[in-house]
Every structure is written in structure tokens, then in C-alpha cells.
């Protein structure tokens, strides 16, 4: 074996060791939470966190969490907020992108400038005043506050739509125009179907974001009855003591599980959607 080949093998070995170590660090906290979700209060109190539960199919903690916490309503709210926000953001986002990209009209540059300015403002900085706006609209404590903000204040998705439509040739819509199709028909029958890849990117990015976000539910829907799974866990962790810690771990598994399953099943779409969308965000 040549010296260069030996060096290469050495470094490959180093890379594998580092990757394995990093992967263990990533998985360990989650794995520990998972095994603790099957432990009895006594086991939690006595043993080490890394000890395995005596009964690995003890689902009492799961039963307790579901019975004591408004799990159903939180999941329903989450699904509702995600679905309605995504429909709104897709419709108004593609419509705005269509008009802004395909038409030249007075005020167009001003509109683009407004979007660029808003893009530069991190949303977290304006919550202090946005809260007052939401209070004025009577939306605080309603899941419509979340829907309004996840769709109305979502500038990144609009940007993805505008970039994408700019790359679609105009031949199709121009020839349809010549044949007498109305703008509405062109948008609905030609533009919208062509935008499907961008729409799926937005759907993936926003579903992940909305499901995982904490800031907006925390500020605008403090009551779980109107809020998402983030608030469910936040409230539950507030109420729990160390004796019910395992129940909280069960709740965490309940919230994480759907994402993990979706992630494993849809990994290719999620990863490519992220790569396409992320750089622009």
C-alpha cells in the first residue's frame, strides 16, 4: 500500500469516528427521553436516566398524558392552523407572484420594494407592536391569530413563489392569451399547475415551521384550547412535577412521533424542499 493510500484510509477512519460520535450526541437525548417515557414514577426517582424500564411496554404514562391534557384539541388546532394557513398562503402568494411577475403596472416597483424592506425586518423584533395590532383586531387568544400571521406575514413563501414563476417561460400563458383565455383562466389552468413544485416546497417548509414554532403560539394563543401542540407541551411542562416527569416524556414522544414518521417517509422531498427554499429564506 502506498503512503497516500494509507493516509487516505487513516482519514476516512477519523471521519467515521467523528460522524459516529456526532450521531450519538444527536440521538442520545431523544433516546433517553423515549426510554424514560415507559418508566414508573418510582423508577424515575431511583434509577439513572439511562437505565432501561422494567416493563418496556408500560404505556401508562401515555394514557395519563392523553387523559389529563387536551391532546385531541391541540392536534386538531395544529392541523386546522396548518391547513388553513397553507391554503391562504398558496392562493394569495401565487396570485401576487403571477401579477407581480407577469404584468407591468404603476406601483409595481414600490410593491417590490415594500416586500424587500419587510424581508429585512426579523419578525421577532416587531412582536411588541404586532401584539397591539392583534389586540386591536380582537384576534389575541384565537387560533385565527396564528392563521393570520402564518399566512399574512409569510414573506419568505411569497419570495419563493416570485423567484419560481420568474423561471417559468411565458410562451404558454401568452399563447393562451392570444387564444382568448381570460387572466383568471390562465392563472387557474396554467400558472397554478406549473407552480406545483414551488407550492410543495412551501407546504413542506411551512408545515415544519408551523408545527414546531413556539413564539407565535406563546404570544398569541396562551390557552391550549386555541393553540397548537407547542403550547400543549409548554403548559404540560409547567404543570408537571418531578414525579410526573415520565408522563411529560410520553407527551413529548406523542408530539415528536408524527414528525419523525413523516420525516423518514418523506425524507427526500423534505431534504430537497429545504435545500431549494432555505437559501432563499
Amino acid at each position: 500500500m502506498t503512503r497516500a493510500a494509507a493516509m487516505r484510509r487513516f482519514w476516512t477512519g477519523v471521519h467515521y469516528v467523528v460522524l459516529t460520535f456526532a450521531s450519538i450526541l444527536v440521538v442520545a437525548p431523544l433516546a433517553i427521553a423515549f426510554i424514560n417515557s415507559f418508566k414508573t414514577p418510582l423508577e424515575m426517582l431511583r434509577g439513572e436516566k439511562t437505565d432501561l424500564p422494567a416493563d418496556p411496554v408500560n404505556i401508562q404514562n401515555y394514557v395519563d398524558f392523553i387523559e389529563r391534557q387536551p391532546v385531541g384539541i391541540a392536534f386538531w388546532n395544529t392541523a386546522f392552523v396548518i391547513a388553513v394557513s397553507l391554503i391562504i398562503v398558496t392562493l394569495i402568494g401565487t396570485m401576487a407572484a403571477y401579477v407581480i411577475d407577469r404584468f407591468r403596472f404603476p406601483g409595481r416597483r414600490a410593491i417590490l420594494l415594500a416586500y424587500v424592506i419587510v424581508m429585512a425586518i426579523p419578525p421577532i423584533t416587531t412582536q411588541v407592536s404586532l401584539y397591539q395590532v392583534m389586540l386591536g383586531l380582537g384576534l389575541v387568544n384565537s387560533k385565527w391569530a396564528l392563521i393570520a400571521l402564518y399566512s399574512g406575514a409569510d414573506i419568505v413563501s411569497l419570495y419563493i413563489f416570485i423567484t419560481f414563476i420568474g423561471a417559468i417561460g411565458r410562451e404558454l400563458d401568452e399563447s393562451a392569451r392570444i387564444e382568448g383565455a381570460s387572466y383568471l383562466t390562465i392563472y387557474w389552468k396554467i400558472i397554478l399547475p406549473l407552480m406545483v413544485p414551488a407550492i410543495s416546497t412551501v407546504v413542506i417548509l411551512r408545515t415544519i415551521h408551523i408545527y414546531n414554532d413556539f413564539v407565535l403560539p406563546y404570544l398569541y394563543t396562551p390557552r391550549v384550547e386555541q393553540s397548537t401542540v407547542s403550547m400543549l407541551l409548554y403548559k404540560a411542562s409547567d404543570m408537571m412535577s418531578s414525579s410526573t416527569e415520565a408522563v411529560l416524556m410520553a407527551g413529548i414522544v406523542i408530539v415528536i412521533a408524527p414528525t419523525l414518521i413523516a420525516f423518514v417517509v418523506l425524507q427526500r422531498q423534505i431534504v430537497s424542499g429545504m435545500m431549494r427554499g432555505a437559501v432563499k429564506g
Partner: protein
């Protein structure tokens, strides 16, 4: 009734823009304007009257009650952490891009934390970093039991523990972006370099690095902005105790707990200015991104 082409055009432009522009105005532009106005008042967020106090809030924050600015220093921990994270993510992206067996699985594992619920992972970490929590137990197993610390209680260590949690969460995301950029580098360049006898380091230095420099620049901007805006991970793990309060936490506390909306708005404006300055500086210093 048949509309004229011109009327149709006006109708579609107005009809398609009215909803997005209304939403833009109500939820983005108006709050930004309000924020600046609030920052010039002494409003408590509830009473009907707010009096104009000029730049008093800013003077208080910058020169009088400097304790308000102190949490801004905590951003430095996150900034340091995010630079380390960027270096690690680049390293991982480069070695995973070589297509060693198992790369796909490693990439998936490292990226996974990014898709998980903030509150869930924060609680998981809170437990993991507790005294006699998961980390201590793991360290004991591998014989490092003597090195356990009060990870989130000791003010000297707590900020770094939170940085670790944050790196844990976002590393995979950066990895993915860099990985995407690497995929666009033509493979024949490496081919040629190998024939010329270039070492792996030389390949990285002269092919990979220049190719991903624009993306790294962009990620540095995002990382800097991100380290100024940190909120949920530390808020959920320590609630800001033991010297881990961030500026966003302090701002929201000022607004929603202490009911000093005017002061909070001024803090938010300062934060916003900081973000814009950081972006502007890096735009000037870093290489321009290629037009896409």
C-alpha cells in the same frame, strides 16, 4: 358582458393584489411603523394615553440603565457557537459529499433535530442537562463521571450548554445548505486534481472552498442575525436564569411582564438596527453571491 382587455387587466392586477397587500400592510408594515412610534413614548400597553418622550427610552437603555443591554452580551456566546457550528457543518458536508458508505444515514441523523418541535426538544434538553440527568448518566457510563458539572445551573457553564443545545438543533440545517452547494460543484474538477496528485486538503482548499464561499458568506450573515435573535431554546430550557437571558427575552419581558411597551419597543428598534448593521457590514465585506 365582455370586458375590454384593458379593464380585464386592471381587474386582475387589483383583484390579485388586494389581499396580499392588505395583509402586508396590516401584519408587517403597520407594526414596524408602530414600533418606532411606541419607542418614542412611555406607553404601558394598556392606558388610553401615551405621552411622547422623544429619545428618552433610548437614552435610558444606552446610557442610564445599562443592565437592559447586558443580555446582548449573551449573543456573543451564540455567535461563537454559530461560527463553530458553521465550521462543523462545512466539515460534515464535505466528507458526506464524498459518498462514503452510510453518508445518507449520517446526513439524515444530523439533520433530524431541525424538524422537531422546539418545545419538545427544549424539554428533552432541559432533562438531559439536569443534575443527574441523561448527560451525567452517559458520562458516568463511559467513565467520565468525574467531569460532570451543573450544566445549566453554573453561570460559567450554562451559556455554553445552551449554545450546545442550539448547535444540536441547527447544525444539520446548515449542513444541508452547504451540502446542496457542494452538489453543484462539477466532479471532473476533482478528477483532474487527483490526476495531478492533489491531496484532499488541497482539493478542499482550491476547489471546494472557493466554490462554496458565497454560500458560507450567506450563512455567516444568517448566523450573526440568528445569534442576535435567539429566544426559544434558552427561554424554554432555563427561562433566562443563571445569566442566560437573551436580548429578545429581555425585550418581551419588558413588554409583556413589566408592561413597559415604550421601553420594549425602543429595545426592539435597537435590536433591529443591530441586525441591519450586521447584515450591511457583512454584505460589504464578504464576496458577492453569484446571481442566481
Amino acid at each position: 358582458m365582455q370586458l375590454t382587455a384593458r379593464a380585464q387587466r386592471c381587474l386582475v392586477i387589483a383583484g390579485f393584489l388586494i389581499a396580499p397587500l392588505t395583509l402586508l400592510a396590516v401584519f408587517s408594515l403597520w407594526p414596524a411603523v408602530q414600533l418606532v412610534w411606541f419607542s418614542l413614548t412611555d406607553w404601558d400597553g394598556m392606558s388610553a394615553d401615551k405621552s411622547f418622550v422623544g429619545l428618552d427610552n433610548y437614552r435610558t437603555i444606552l446610557f442610564e440603565d445599562t443592565g437592559l443591554l447586558r443580555p446582548l452580551l449573551n449573543s456573543l456566546y451564540y455567535f461563537a457557537g454559530s461560527m463553530l457550528q458553521l465550521a462543523l457543518a462545512t466539515y460534515f458536508a464535505v466528507i458526506l459529499n464524498r459518498g462514503m458508505p452510510g453518508s445518507a444515514a449520517f446526513r439524515l441523523i444530523l439533520f433530524m433535530p431541525f424538524v422537531l418541535n422546539s418545545v419538545a426538544v427544549s424539554i428533552v434538553f432541559r432533562d438531559f442537562l439536569q443534575i443527574e440527568g441523561g448527560l451525567d448518566a452517559l458520562m458516568t457510563i463511559v467513565g467520565l463521571g468525574a467531569w460532570t458539572r451543573e450544566w445549566v445551573q453554573d453561570p460559567d457553564i450554562a451559556p455554553w450548554s445552551l449554545v450546545f443545545a442550539s448547535v444540536w438543533r441547527y447544525l444539520g440545517f446548515q449542513l444541508l445548505i452547504t451540502y446542496g452547494a457542494l452538489q453543484a460543484v462539477p466532479q471532473d474538477q476533482y478528477e483532474a486534481a487527483r490526476i495531478e496528485g492533489a491531496s484532499e486538503w488541497q482539493q478542499f482548499r482550491f476547489i471546494t472552498f472557493p466554490a462554496i464561499l458565497p454560500i458560507l458568506g450567506l450563512q455567516m450573515i444568517l448566523a450573526t442575525v440568528g445569534s442576535l435573535e435567539v429566544f426559544d431554546v434558552p427561554f424554554l430550557i432555563t427561562g433566562g436564569a443563571n445569566g442566560t437571558k437573551t436580548f429578545v427575552m429581555a425585550t418581551l419581558e419588558e413588554a409583556f411582564e413589566f408592561r413597559r411597551v415604550g421601553m420594549a419597543a425602543a429595545m426592539a428598534v435597537i435590536l433591529l438596527a443591530g441586525v441591519l448593521v450586521a447584515v450591511a457590514i457583512q454584505r460589504l465585506v464578504l464576496p458577492k453571491e453569484e446571481a442566481r
